[in-house]
Symmetry: C2
């Protein structure tokens, strides 16, 4: 245990093949909170972890080091499928969620979080292309940038973690601090072709988007989730 | 040289104390381009590099490995001050900028880029709090999310790298691909308290923002830029 009584830890969970921006968006924002908050990327061990980009990140602390985080954030990514059956990660999520004040997910990080059973019946956001899986796992999909239900704050795909983290920063330290962090990161977004026109996003684009990333891993779910037949059954992938 | 003739390398430069999101925003977007483009985080060597967060990243390739990148992107961060006098980095920037089709910066990454002399007289964007230093280094500050002048595309603070990279993706592979990447990252931003109200950002906030990060390092410029008396003089920090 390296945690001191006065430190309020914000633990960002790392696992293989996470989407790097899912983790880094919230990390960059929440590190700006300053004391008593401290961010830490935590993993099962301290070995470098390959992300969905070609870059590895190295956790600074292990699950054993921070047993009582104030806030837990789980990113999504192609590895979120395997993370549903990752025993160490599932155990850590369940054990820490009990005493944490906030449990948050970004993108398909909602899937391993749902696999703990903690999102049963809750209103939850997730990457738009994986709403079906989320519902099969027992949550109620909410099309929103992020959704708060009890201590759970779940966000839409990848970049939504930035909006969610600014909301979380305000919740933890007040709106003034959150807006100061926003100014520091010059987060005054202007997507060059505008926001997403959801009226143009149909089945064809859904199929296309699910060909890679998490979607590609779901086609391997029989193997990846072999130790969680309950999940395979819920996802209608049971033999 | 690991580069193949057919590969168009997008080199993201890493150096100590860079701002992690400056690097990861563009990396996450541009990795989505697929062949013939390939992203690589390049550093002077392959040792882990401490970022402004508590996380280290490990370059995948060295400057020597990728001598002819098609695109170069330099992030900002507190370390951008020392990067102005980083001989290996300055040499790499100057050598590769000649044949690159695009040289881009995020946030205060414009400062080490300006230190090469390549931005002399050009219209350039940078983190809002460091416009003065940019102008002292010979560029003309442009208040914009990103600015394109010749082969140089420079962006405002941190998160602006995301908007810039979507523009760059369209430039390299077409608007349709860029918008598909945007959809994959669900980049439909909704800052919880709205965008930045620039009418509320005055001298007081400028002073406050410059207390940390790059601003704190500028107070150490006499030491950090000791080997570049020309820059100290331009920044009016000469003895």
């Amino acid at each position: 245990m390296v945690s001191e009584n006065t430190t309020r830890w914000i633990a960002l969970l790392a696992y293989p093949e996470l989407t790097l921006l899912d983790l880094v968006g919230p990390l960059q924002i929440l590190r700006g909170l300053g004391a008593p908050f401290r961010t830490a990327v935590v993993g099962e061990n301290l070995k470098p972890i390959l992300t969905d980009t070609s870059v590895c990140i190295t956790p600074q602390m292990t699950f054993a080091d921070i047993q009582d985080p104030d806030v837990i954030i789980i990113p999504g990514g192609p590895g979120s499928v395997a993370a549903m059956a990752n025993h160490a990660l599932q155990t850590y999520l369940k054990a820490t969620a009990e005493s944490a004040t906030v449990v948050a997910s970004v993108c398909t990080g909602a899937l391993p979080l749902a696999a703990t059973g903690l999102l049963e019946g809750r209103r939850v956001s997730v990457h738009w292309a994986y709403a079906r899986e989320l519902e099969l796992l027992g949550a109620r999909y909410e099309r929103a940038r992020f959704t708060e239900d009890g201590k759970f704050i779940t966000s839409a795909g990848v970049s939504a973690g930035i909006d969610m983290a600014l909301h979380l920063a305000a919740k933890l330290a007040g709106q003034e601090i959150s807006q100061r962090i926003q100014l520091g990161l010059e987060y005054d977004p202007q997507p060059p072709f505008g926001g997403i026109d959801w009226t143009q996003v149909g089945e064809k684009e859904l199929t296309r988007q699910r060909r890679g990333g998490t979607g590609a891993r779901l086609t391997q779910a029989q193997e990846l989730l072999a130790e969680r037949p309950d999940l395979l059954q819920r996802l209608r992938l049971g033999r």
